[in-house]
């Protein structure tokens, strides 16, 4: 946990913390293990991101992203 999400970086979702309050909403929105996400924008004061996942954009708070265990991907890596 405690990943720092950086703008322009792609990540692979490894797993999701089943005890986190936002699990259901994340699943409903297609933010699930084994899929990739990229950080498109960071809000002016930080704390909220726009990520691209499954081909669409979603705004999400850092505290909600903390439910995810992710691994940063290198450029070009699928």
């Amino acid at each position: 946990m405690g990943h720092r999400f950086r703008k322009g970086q792609r990540y692979r979702i490894l797993s999701i913390n089943k005890d986190h309050a936002s699990v259901k909403r994340l699943t409903d929105m297609g933010i699930t293990p084994e899929c990739n996400l990229s950080v498109e924008n960071v809000a002016p004061f930080g704390g909220t991101y726009i990520i691209k996942v499954r081909g669409y954009r979603v705004a999400i708070r850092k505290s909600d992203l903390e439910a995810l265990e992710v691994q940063a991907l290198d450029k070009g890596e699928k």
């Binding site: 309050a21 936002s22 259901k24 909403r25 994340l26 699943t27 409903d28 929105m29 297609g30 933010i31 699930t32 293990p33 899929c35 498109e40 924008n41 960071v42 809000a43 002016p44 004061f45 930080g46 704390g47 909220t48 726009i50 499954r54 081909g55 669409y56 954009r57 979603v58 705004a59 999400i60 708070r61 505290s63 909600d64």
Partner: protein, 605 residues
Amino acid sequence: MAVALIGNPNSGKTTLFNALTGKRQHVGNWPGVTVDIKEGIFHYKGHRINIVDLPGIYSLDPDTLEQRTTRNYLTQFPPELIINIVDAGNLERSLYLTMQLLKLGRPVLLALNMMDEVEKAGAELDADKLSFFLGIPAIAISAVKEKGLDKLAKTIHDAIEGRAAPPSAPGICISCTMCKNTENIYKCIEDIVRQVYTTKLTQKQADITRKLDRVLLNKWLAIPLLLLIMLSVFFITFGATGWLTDLINAFLSGTLSPFTGSLLSSAGAPAWLTGLLCSGVIPGVGSVLAFLPQIAILFILTSFLEDSGYMARAAFIMDKAFSKIGLGGGAFMPLLMGFGCSVPAVMATRTLPSEKERRLTIMLIPFMSCSAKMPVYALFAGAFFARYQGLAVFGIYFIGIFIAVLSGFILNKLVFKTQKTPFIMEIPPYRFPTAKNLLLHSAEKVKGFLVKAGTVLLAASLVIWALQYFTPSFTLAANPSESIIAFIGRGLAPVFSPIGLSDWRASVALVTGVAAKEAIVSTLGVLSGSGQAGLTEVLRGIFSPLQAFTFMTFSLLYIPCVATIATIGKEMRSVKWTFFTVVYGLVIAYTLSFIIFNAGKLLGF
């Protein structure tokens, strides 16, 4: 039994509903425009088919109120046919709901919307193949461009008549058990999408969105641009339409009123009737109608921002600030709608994930100065702060926002005590708003405003006029200051004196303002017995500039109008909370007005 339209938020359900039924429900480019159930009738070859537009949901086990609405509807009134509308450019996430719908055992029809965008992006979607996999009909459409609707209509008709095609499609998904496990649903979907959807690399649409976001959501530019955009809306609304207001006023008091007067007197009508029309109805309703252009422009501009997709981004930009007062950025939209009208704004809180967040947002909405209060500011600012009109009105709006933020902070600390609120909100791609939709939305608001003028404001004007026509002993009042209404107004004076509003006309206007905020202006119009030109003179006689500003502040913050109170009652589902909201506003309004008036006096204004 009916046909139900179901799909993700912002997938175009309402656009399709409007296209099929010929109705004119409001649509916008942000998730959650539809928060309640809308019904319509769709005609096809002499058949009348009931069609129900439900709020958007992402899944069938939803956690917000409006998503529960959809779910409850489905279990209580199992529809004859479910039309599952999906954003064809966003298949992977959209089909998650489809998979859940398939398990309900009701016939489902897939409407693949926004096919025009898919084609524009250089992608291809094989609807027949998708239909083959899912075992349900799948029709490619574009609800905005009204493409593919004939085929969709025919398929809906056939499905209801029991001549649907399912037997020909094996429906691999229905027999497959892999997706029984939630974790596997997305794997199944990915497999299907891989086989039906092919992208080429020219994603034009996505590129435009990315380019625009690079500027509009830039770390340093985002907030200045947001302020600039909001200020532009504000100054265009007030600055560009003043001449139209003057024109309407000139017509009403300079032409219509004398014309009606001479017409009536030449027809031998009694003096009271002439008085009723020329010093009751025309100044009362007319003083408010004069601000119609502002209302129309305001809604055209805000619809433009909504439809373009910018408003959803504004919620994202403001999210950090909202997290400080225990709200998610999702509360931004209802609060913003509050600048239009509190009633739909309060209803829009249904999209919020928790009850606490809903209640807090509802309590803050009345501080967002609604468009019905605009005539009050425009009138007073024009009469007292002519040179700094824009600044004075901006100051009032700013006070409203400041009070909302402060209240949010205090209420969250003392009453709601929320800690971590989730915020997960879809951000749509930028789309160019259609002129049709902008005009439609604006016309709808103007119509609502006219209806209000013809009912509530007309009635209020008539009552006020009658109350100033008679004395408390029901003889004709020689002078309005001897009338029933003056008597009532003077009775209220001790209450309003500490905040500098001791004139009976001011207190009466504030009381009638509870019926509808525009009634503040129409009441003053009737009580001055003249059109706006005369009204300005009368007001200058009643108020000092300091009192005028205090009056504007009090009007901004005090009790919401009856329609809003009723809606708050319905949405809070609690008398206690509704009462608390109303009293809270009143206390804040009184306290702040007291401070402004007395501090202003000390400073020598």
